[in-house]
Structure formats: structure tokens, C-alpha cells
């Protein structure tokens, strides 16, 4: 365990996970039609999805899903996998772990009194991972999740806010500084790890990168101050998306605006192939973005962007490539369409 003295990083040994007397999730044949918030491939022929009421589903096709009963009813917002280990996070700062591909589940961490959710989770190695969430929630484990430490990182703030905090630290002392820092941090909506760099997007136009797995951060400036929910690394560079369909791609000349067809928030991106990105939006929009030629405008007007709407018209949270299909999770559960048609 190494701590960089120079970093504005503070670790607090988290209170051991207090597991309230919560019952396990409710088995229901409608779990695959309920609000599902994340989906991943866990095997070449198996996917897993998590969602409201502690729903965890795995399956080999839409018609063949299995609900895992887990020891919490908290709504789960994100899921990640490293080898045989699975971690799901969610509301009440819940961190759930399965060491055996979903056979058994245990709550590694939960803080119901926090009244806030984790929104994403990521593991660098079997032992080293982070969980991020609302109101600047940032927790790290270096022992595979046995213990989780809370971190507050002022470098994630807007430069103006950083200056304000530095002032407070001098005038009012360390304790008040920490309190203020915790309250001023934005929601961390999504993390992604690409080419050794950790990226994180969040509220108030926050895009940040870290060379050291999140110990220190540098903000990436962008001319938009609404929330970002999605970030992905594409063959042509980073793509970020957020509130009301605002989408941007990082190019050598700076951020290039991508004009989607619909003003619905982008929840996730899925890279379908080297030239095609799928944006998953609220109100049931699957939006295909053609990035083969970044010299032109990428916009709905010239058909480099095109949308179709699902019949349910419910918000789509994420999607995966699965065999020839795209399987997505939405407010009305699992659905799929044939990738070739897109």
C-alpha cells in the first residue's frame, strides 16, 4: 500500500460493511421485464444484467434467463467482471460480489444511511478496484473487496471550486475543508479504463483522466456544463455523451460535436465495430453513429447518425454485442435486435 504524499488524496478506513437485516431479492418471472440498468458479457455465450429490486439475471438468450437471488433488494446500477469475479454496485452504497460467476453472492459493502448510490464499478486487477457514485462517492479496495476505503479527491473539482476549497483549508482548517469537499463533489456517473488511463465522467460537464488509477486526476475541459452519463474509447478517440443527447468526440483539434437525431439523454455507448458506435438513449432510442470519416460533420442531417425507437419507447441503459445480436437493457427489461439490420 503506497500513498502519495503530494496527492490531494485522503483515505479513510471505511466502517466494516454494516449489513442491515434486509431480505433477499424477490424471485419473479417478470424480473427480465423490470427496470434493468446494466448488462455485460460474462462468457462467450452468456450475459448478465442487473437492475431494480436487486434483480440479477444471467442467460444465454432472451428466452433463456435465470434470476439469481441475492442478499439485498437494493437497486443495482452497474456490473463488472474480472476473470471469475463479478461485482455489482447500486443504491445504499451496495457492493455485491460473486467469486464464482454468479453461483453465490455476498454483500461486501453497504451503507444504507448514506442515502446515495454507487453508479459504476471497475476492477484493474483481481484485488484492486474502484466503485464510484453520487455526491462524489469514490471507494477503493486493494484486497478484492474485503475492505473498501472512501476517497475524496479535490482535483476532480472545477478549478474555481478548487481555489475556493484551498482558501477554506487555510482559514477554517482540515476538518471543515473535508466536509466542504465532500458536499461539493459532483455525481460520478461512469468510469472507463483504456490504454492504462482511467477516465471518469459526471455532473456539471465533468470529464477527468487519471494516469495512476484514480489517485490523482486531471480535468479535461469541454464547452458544456450539463451532465455526462457515458464515455467510451473508440478507435477514433474518446466519445462522451450526456443530458439531452449532447455528444462529443475527442479529436486532435479538440472536442467535435456530434448531433444526434433525438434530444434524449445518452446513457451508454457500445462500440459495434471500428466505424460504428451505438448510443443508447432515453425514450427508447438506439442511435447508430458512423465515425468512419471524422472530417465531415457527424450529424443526423447527413445520415452519419441515425436512430430507431424501440416499440416500448422506454429508456435504454446499456447494450452488448452478443453473437450476431445486440442485447440491451431498458426500463422494460431485456430486448434484442439483429445487429446486421442496423
Amino acid at each position: 500500500m503506497k500513498f502519495s504524499y503530494l496527492s490531494l488524496l485522503f483515505s479513510l478506513i471505511a466502517t466494516p460493511a454494516v449489513i442491515a437485516a434486509q431480505e433477499s431479492s424477490i424471485a419473479s418471472h417478470l424480473a427480465n421485464k423490470s427496470l434493468l440498468l446494466d448488462i455485460i458479457n460474462i462468457d462467450t455465450d452468456r450475459f448478465m444484467a442487473v437492475g431494480e429490486r436487486g434483480h440479477v439475471l444471467s442467460g444465454s438468450s432472451l428466452d433463456n434467463t435465470y434470476q439469481h437471488i441475492i442478499p439485498t433488494k437494493s437497486t443495482l446500477t452497474a456490473l463488472t467482471q474480472l476473470d471469475n469475479g463479478l461485482w455489482a454496485v447500486g443504491h445504499d452504497l451496495t457492493i455485491l460480489h460473486s467469486p464464482d460467476m454468479g453461483e453465490t453472492w455476498l454483500v461486501q459493502f453497504q451503507d444504507i444511511s448514506s442515502e446515495k448510490p454507487f453508479l459504476d464499478v471497475l476492477f484493474f486487477t483481481e484485488s484492486h478496484g474502484i466503485a464510484v457514485g453520487a455526491y462524489g462517492a469514490f471507494y477503493r479496495t486493494r484486497d478484492g473487496g474485503v475492505t473498501w476505503q472512501k476517497e475524496l479527491n479535490a482535483s476532480l473539482l472545477h478549478p474555481d471550486d478548487q481555489a475556493y476549497l484551498d482558501e477554506i483549508r487555510e482559514l477554517d482548517g482540515e476538518e471543515f475543508y473535508l466536509e466542504e469537499l465532500a458536499s461539493i463533489l459532483p455525481h460520478f456517473n461512469r468510469v472507463t479504463f483504456a490504454n492504462g488511463i482511467l477516465y471518469m465522467v459526471g455532473e456539471t460537464g465533468m470529464i477527468a483522466q487519471s494516469q495512476d488509477q484514480g489517485m490523482t486526476w486531471q480535468r479535461i475541459e469541454i464547452d458544456y456544463d450539463g451532465s455526462f452519463f457515458a464515455i467510451a474509447d473508440t478507435p477514433k478517440g474518446l466519445i462522451v455523451g450526456g443530458l439531452r443527447g449532447n455528444t462529443f468526440m475527442q479529436t486532435p483539434n479538440g472536442w467535435q460535436t456530434i448531433t444526434l437525431c433525438e434530444e434524449a439523454s445518452v446513457n451508454s455507448f457500445t462500440v459495434l465495430d471500428s466505424n460504428t458506435i451505438l448510443a443508447l438513449q432515453n425514450n427508447g432510442y438506439y442511435t447508430s453513429i458512423d465515425i468512419s470519416n471524422m472530417d465531415q460533420d457527424i450529424t443526423c442531417k447527413n445520415n452519419t447518425v441515425s436512430s430507431i425507437q424501440s416499440s416500448e419507447k422506454t429508456s435504454i441503459l446499456n447494450a452488448i454485442r452478443f453473437n450476431d445480436q445486440v442485447i440491451s437493457v431498458s426500463a422494460s427489461g431485456l430486448s434484442s435486435f439483429n445487429n446486421n439490420k442496423k
Binding site: S28, I112, E115, L119, R244
Partner: protein, 783 residues
């Protein structure tokens, strides 16, 4: 008994003209009353008000009167509502519905109601406004485009606007009392108003109107019920022809028909006199009264005619017929009356009304057809032609010996065995009898009726259903700010959603979760109930009580379950699940009470009907058994009458399962009516048989005599009644058709039971009866 008969005989025939005068005056007076009779339909009459569910419904009705509403779907025939003509029409329909007297004006919802708003999430928070802006100008295409966008943002597609944008809805709820007069709201008037002041006014080749709701349904039933006059006329015509063929005399035809009509007039007049109206659902009762009247009248003219042919004068023949028929006829009609009165035990207003209407009608037949008719007959002079026709008949008597063979021992054993087998098979089938309505739409109406077609159109074009049940979650004031209460409701709703037959559900926490996501930039990851009380309050502060999801202080929050259908098994499955799951979530100050909503009413009605079925049969048969025991003073005689009746009522239930007729408020009384009327045949036949048996005859001879005396009248009556009610099959009302089929079956089969099974049973019960003289007979039955 004899003394009483004598007393009446001397009273009636001593003052014949006075008697006729009194009847004439009474008839004129009651005819006047009858013309004042009003059709009267009330929503509450159709529901079991004392049932636990309905008590809960009534308790919360001021806040959640969701069961009696009106939906008007205005559809554009071009398939697209976004044109000036449509929006102008919709506005007019909205305004007209708003001004219908009896509509709860604060709850009229359509695109044009100010409460129909949209909200959208923008970077700074929420933005929103009314879907149709204040400066809306329907002639401006841009304004229509704006409304189209607002509709999408408001999320009311499938609810207020049909999923294919071809229709838009105006919803209204009805009060239970007329705000102007304070009396019960006149549902028929509102239903007719919807037809004349909305549909007739606005429907044309560009726009169609589809109207559903209890008031419209019952008005349509009432209009369909008016056909009953046609059926009445047809039945009178058929019956008259039949009676003429039977009696071969114009006077003998006219008199029983007139007396039966007098009975109907009296019945309708008495109803008005006692302050009742006639419900469309019981409009068939006068018809039944007429039919029963004719059946007893025919016995009377048959008896008189027979005596006249034997050479007696009209007066002597009438006196004799009166004396011989007063007891069996009186007993038969009394058992009809008592049988119908037993329906009073069923705690549904409309069945109680039916009980009163029907028993009153049958009771007056005692006066008109057992008293008035013989007195009138005594004035008839039979001409030679009649005597000649009658003599020919006597010379060639109907050959009853074939029927009488039922009393041969081997044949009797076969008949009784076959009956027993039929009974067992019937009972097995009857076990599968379904409670409640088995078909979609309004069960009183045919599937192809305008009302049901409108129902299907609305459920097809919109994502709404008229089949929903509300679970009334009762807590304490401000309970909606408690996470644990809201979470319990939310989990309860989720569990109920998984029950087969529940299509979707909505409740306050369900909406609060969506609003919480809305406050978090519309991010579905925040679609949760906030544990923080202040945040939870924020999520529910914008939900008005007019949504029907909470009352003023949010101490009551219904969970509304939308169902796939309203079949009885679906309803009971859902109700059972509610009872099971509410145990998991009920706590101190938190109860999950059944039920409101149309399906809640059906659930209560089904339970009340199911619970009434057996008691009703017990009471009906109890009454019949007691009256038979009293009149025949013989257990064996009673068994001979009652057993075939019981078999037939079981077979009628079996028939209902084959015809997919469920046991409902309208079909439940049919069995009681059928038993009440069916018992007449047995009593007439057996009263002669008992006289003969008492004289020492064997069963065969006793039965043969009974057939000669009464057989033709019994056969005739059964066929005539059956032909009369079978015309109901052509009724525009489904329930009338069902009743028609069932009553036809019961009349015919009860008659067959009386002429085939009754004598066979009697033969077995009087097993050792051989001789023809008194000494060998067993006179003293256990009774």
C-alpha cells in the same frame, strides 16, 4: 282445508257480479298506477353493498370513486387526429361532458383540461406547461404540431391519446347523487344524454364517438329492454293461438289470457304503489307472470271444460273446478311466491327487487286466475258446437297409456336409473360451473353490440383497460412521506404484478420513483424511492389527489391493478394473491383493503353470488318441501315432486357450463324461478294421484287418472311457456338470451320430469302397492 275452500266458494259464487265489479275497479286503478311505472337503474343496486369489499369501497368513495366513470373516445376516421376539425370537435365534446349534470367537474380529463400538462428535463431543471397552450389556435398547423410534441413529452400516449394517434379520450367520473336535486343520480338519463347530446350531435363521417361506462351500458340495456314489448306481443299471440287449439273455444281462450294480463297489470300497478321502479334487468318478470298465469288458467279452463262436457252447467262446472283446483293451484303458486321470496336472502339490491317483483306478481295470480277466472267462466254459455267438438274428443280420448307405462316396475326402474345417471353426470359437470362473467365487455349486452364494440375499440387503441381493481392501502395521515410505508406498497405492487392476469399496475410509490428519476436529470438509475424524507416529499409533492393515487392527506394510497380480463378465475386468483401478499406487508397502521374499481365490484359480486348459490337452493327447496309436506301430508309424495326438480336444476347448471354462461347476478335467480315454476306441474299431477292413491288405487291407475284429468294441461303449459321464453333468444340483450335458454330448458325438462320421472319414482316409493282396494294400501305415510 275443505272448509276454507267452501267458504271461498260460497263467497265468490254467491256474489259473482260484485266480485267481478271489485276486480274491474281494482284493475282500472292499478292500470293507471302501472302507466306511471318508471324504468329505474342504479349502480349500487347491482353490487352487494354489505360485502366487505364494498364496505371498503363505500368508505373511500369520496376520495376514490373510480368505479362509475364515463370514457368518451373521439376518433378521427382518417386515422390522424391532428387537424382543425378534430380538435374543435374534441373541445366541444370536452365542454359538453363537463356540463352534464352529475359529472364531477374537477375530474373531467382530456387534452383540453388544464391539468393535462407536460414536463421535460432541461439543463436547468424542469420545463413544462399545459399540453394545449392557452393561445392554442386549431386552424394553425404549427400550433397542432406543437400540441403533438407536447403530447409526446407529457407521456399520455396510450392513455389520453390512442397509441396510433387516431383517437383522443375525454374521461369523466360520475357523482352518486344529483347535485341539483340531491337524489340518486339518474343513470339512464345520463346514458341517454351521452347518446343524444354527444354521439348524435358530433358523430359523422369524419369523427366517431365511442362511449363506455356504467351509465351508458345500463341505458343501452334499458333501450334493449324495450324490445321486451315486442317479445311480449309475440308471446301473447303464440299463447293465444295455443290456448285456442287446446280449448277449441274463443271464450275459453280469451278468459285465461285476459286474467293473466290482469295479473300483469296488478303487478306493475302494485310496484308503483309500493314505490318501486322496474329495473331493466328485471323487465322479464312481467312476462314470466303472464306465462305462469296462463299455465294456471289453462288448468282452470281444462277442468271447467271437462265438467261441462260431462253435462254440468257453466256455474256448477266452474264451482267444481274452483273447489278442486284451489288447493293444488294455491299450493303451487304459494310455492312459487315463497321460492321467489327466498331470493331476498341475496344481498344484492337488484336480486331483492326481482324477488319482490316476481313474488308479488305470482301472488296476484292466485287472485286473478284461481278466483276471478272461475267466476268469469261461470258466465260463459257453451254452445252446441263446443259440445259437439268436446264429445268427439271424449269419443277419441288422448291415449295416455303410453305415458302411464312409466309406472310399470321395470320401466320405472329404468327411468329412475337413467335419471340417476344423468344426475351424477350433471352434478360432475355442474361442479365446473363458473362464477361471474366469462366474456369480455359488458355481459348484459351481446358481443357485437355498439357498447361492447366501443369497449373493444378503446381497450385495443389505448393502453388502458376497463378491467382494473384497486387495493386501498390504508395508513395514517402523511404516510406517503414514510419510506417504509411507501416501500411496502411498492413491493406489494411488484409482487402483484407477477400474478397471472395482472397486466400492469400503478400506485403512488410507482409514480414517485419516476419523479425521483426526473429530479435526477431523468436518469433511470435514480428510479428509486428516496430514503431521505425531504427528498421523498419532493417526489410526491407534485402528484395531485385527482390522479386517484392518494387522498388529501395521503393516508390512503390505492394500488391499481390493470387486469387482462375479468373472468371469475382471474379475479379470484388476483384476490387470493392480494390476501396472501398483504400479510407480508401489513403492519400496525398499514392495511391493504380490498377493493375498489370495476373488478373490485365484480370480485365482491362474484363472492356474494357464489356464497348465495347454495343457501338460495336450500331455501327454495326448503320452501317447496315444506309446502308439499303440508299439502300432501306424505313424505313419499314430496320426494316424488322434489327429486325430479332437483335433478333438473343440477342439469340446468350443467347446461350453463356447456353454453359458457357464468353464474351472475342475472343468471343466479333463474334456477329459483325455474324451480318455482317447475314445481307446478308436479303438484297438479300428484294432487290427483294422491286422491286416487288414498282411494286405494295402484300407482299406475292413479297416474292414468291424473293424466286424463290434467295431463294435457300440463303438456300444453310446458310447451306454451317454453315457446314463449324461447323467443328471448332473439333479444338484443345477452342476459335475456341466457335467461331465455335456461328457462326454456327448465320449463321443458321440468315438465318431462313431472310426467316421466315423477310417476316412475312414485312407483318405486310405493313399491308394494298392488291391489285396487283400500285395505291393501298403505295409507299412513310418514310425513
Amino acid at each position: 282445508m275443505q272448509k276454507l275452500t267452501h267458504f271461498f266458494e260460497s263467497l265468490l259464487f254467491g256474489f259473482r257480479k260484485t266480485v267481478i265489479g271489485i276486480f274491474a275497479v281494482a284493475t282500472v286503478a292499478l292500470l293507471f298506477m302501472a302507466t306511471q311505472l318508471k324504468l329505474d337503474a342504479g349502480f349500487e343496486k347491482n353490487i352487494p353493498l354489505q360485502h366487505e369489499y364494498m364496505q371498503n369501497y363505500l368508505k373511500h368513495r369520496a376520495d376514490f370513486d373510480g368505479a362509475n366513470n364515463v370514457l368518451v373516445s373521439v376518433c378521427d376516421t382518417s386515422g390522424n387526429i391532428f387537424n382543425q376539425y378534430f380538435f374543435d370537435t374534441l373541445k366541444n365534446v370536452h365542454d359538453d361532458v363537463f356540463f352534464i349534470n352529475g359529472v364531477e367537474r374537477s375530474l373531467v380529463v382530456s387534452l383540453f383540461s388544464p391539468a393535462t400538462r407536460f414536463t421535460e428535463i432541461v439543463e436547468g431543471g424542469f420545463a413544462g406547461g399545459p399540453v394545449i397552450p392557452a393561445d392554442f389556435n386549431s386552424s394553425n398547423p404549427d400550433a397542432l404540431l406543437k400540441v403533438a410534441q407536447n403530447i409526446e413529452k407529457a407521456g399520455i400516449v396510450g392513455n389520453q391519446v390512442s397509441s396510433d394517434y387516431s383517437c383522443a379520450m375525454v374521461k369523466a367520473q360520475l357523482l352518486s347523487t344529483d347535485p341539483e336535486t340531491g337524489e340518486d343520480l339518474n343513470m339512464l338519463q345520463i346514458g341517454n344524454q351521452l347518446e343524444t347530446e354527444l354521439r348524435d350531435k358530433y358523430e359523422n363521417d369524419r369523427v366517431t364517438l365511442h362511449i363506455i361506462g356504467f351509465s351508458k351500458m345500463i341505458a343501452d340495456v334499458a333501450n334493449g329492454a324495450k324490445d321486451v314489448l315486442t317479445f311480449f306481443a309475440i308471446a301473447i299471440a303464440i299463447t293465444t293461438i295455443m290456448v285456442f287449439i287446446f280449448s277449441k273455444s274463443i271464450m275459453l281462450t280469451v278468459l285465461p289470457i285476459v286474467c293473466s294480463l290482469v295479473a300483469v297489470i296488478w303487478q306493475l300497478g302494485l310496484l308503483t304503489l309500493f314505490g318501486f321502479g322496474l329495473d331493466p334487468m328485471s323487465i322479464l318478470v312481467p312476462f314470466l307472470v303472464f306465462a305462469i298465469g296462463v299455465s294456471h288458467g289453462v288448468q282452470m279452463i281444462n277442468a271447467v271444460g271437462n265438467k261441462v262436457v260431462e253435462g254440468l252447467s257453466s256455474l256448477a262446472a266452474s264451482k267444481l273446478a274452483f273447489a278442486s283446483l284451489l288447493v293444488p293451484g294455491g299450493i303451487a303458486l304459494l310455492s312459487d311466491t315463497v321460492g321467489f321470496l327466498t331470493l331476498l336472502v341475496i344481498d344484492i339490491g337488484i336480486i331483492k327487487e326481482l324477488a319482490i317483483t316476481a313474488s308479488m306478481g305470482v301472488a296476484v295470480i292466485i287472485l286473478t286466475n284461481l278466483f276471478l277466472l272461475p267466476v268469469l267462466m261461470s258466465f260463459v254459455s257453451f254452445n252446441d258446437a263446443y259440445h259437439a267438438r268436446a264429445k268427439r274428443k271424449v269419443a277419441n280420448p288422448t291415449n295416455w297409456s303410453a305415458f302411464a307405462k312409466c309406472c310399470d316396475k321395470p320401466k320405472a326402474i329404468i327411468i329412475v336409473s337413467v335419471t340417476a345417471i344423468l344426475f351424477v353426470l350433471g352434478a360432475m359437470q355442474a361442479n365446473t360451473l363458473k362464477i361471474g362473467d366469462l366474456h369480455p365487455g359488458a355481459p348484459a349486452l351481446h358481443e357485437d353490440s355498439r357498447y361492447n364494440q366501443d369497449t373493444f375499440l378503446i381497450t385495443d387503441k389505448y393502453e388502458i383497460t376497463v378491467d382494473y381493481i384497486s387495493i386501498l392501502v390504508e395508513a395514517y395521515p402523511e404516510a406517503c412521506t414514510s419510506f417504509s410505508v411507501m416501500n411496502a406498497i411498492d413491493e406489494f405492487q411488484w409482487r402483484m404484478t407477477s400474478i397471472e392476469g395482472v397486466q400492469s399496475a400503478v400506485s403512488l410509490p410507482h409514480i414517485a420513483k419516476k419523479i425521483n428519476a426526473g429530479y435526477n436529470e431523468g436518469n433511470p438509475k435514480w428510479n428509486i424511492l428516496p430514503r431521505n424524507e425531504a427528498v421523498l416529499v419532493q417526489s410526491i409533492a407534485r402528484i395531485p389527489s385527482s390522479t386517484g393515487l392518494l387522498n388529501g392527506d395521503c393516508s390512503v394510497m390505492p394500488v391499481i391493478l390493470f387486469m387482462t380480463d375479468h373472468k371469475a378465475e382471474t379475479i379470484s386468483r388476483v384476490v387470493d394473491a392480494v390476501k396472501e401478499y398483504r400479510q407480508l406487508y401489513a403492519a400496525e397502521g398499514l392495511t391493504f383493503a380490498l377493493a375498489s374499481g370495476p373488478v373490485g365490484v365484480m370480485a365482491a359480486t362474484n363472492e356474494a353470488v357464489a356464497a348465495s348459490q347454495n343457501p338460495m337452493l336450500v331455501y327454495v327447496f326448503g320452501a317447496v318441501i315444506i309446502l308439499c309436506l303440508m299439502s300432501f301430508k306424505s313424505l313419499r309424495a314430496t320426494l316424488s315432486v322434489v327429486l325430479p326438480l332437483y335433478v333438473v336444476s343440477v342439469l340446468a347448471q350443467a347446461l350453463m357450463t356447456f353454453l359458457q354462461i357464468g353464474l351472475t347476478v342475472s343468471t343466479l335467480p333463474v334456477i329459483a324461478l325455474g324451480v318455482g315454476i317447475g314445481v307446478d306441474y308436479g303438484i297438479y299431477i300428484l294432487s290427483t294421484m294422491m286422491r286416487k292413491l288414498d282411494e286405494g288405487a295402484d300407482v299406475h291407475d292413479a297416474y292414468l287418472t291424473a293424466l286424463q284429468e290434467r295431463g294435457s294441461a300440463v303438456l300444453f303449459t310446458g310447451i306454451t311457456l317454453a315457446i314463449g321464453v324461447s323467443t328471448w333468444v332473439f333479444s338484443s340483450l345477452k342476459f335475456q338470451m341466457d335467461m331465455g335458454i335456461l328457462l326454456t330448458f327448465m320449463f321443458i325438462v321440468n315438465m318431462l320430469g313431472a310426467v316421466l320421472v315423477l310417476p316412475a319414482l312414485a312407483r318405486l316409493l310405493w313399491w308394494n302397492r298392488k291391489g285396487t282396494n283400500k285395505q291393501q294400501g298403505d295409507l299412513k305415510d310418514a310425513s
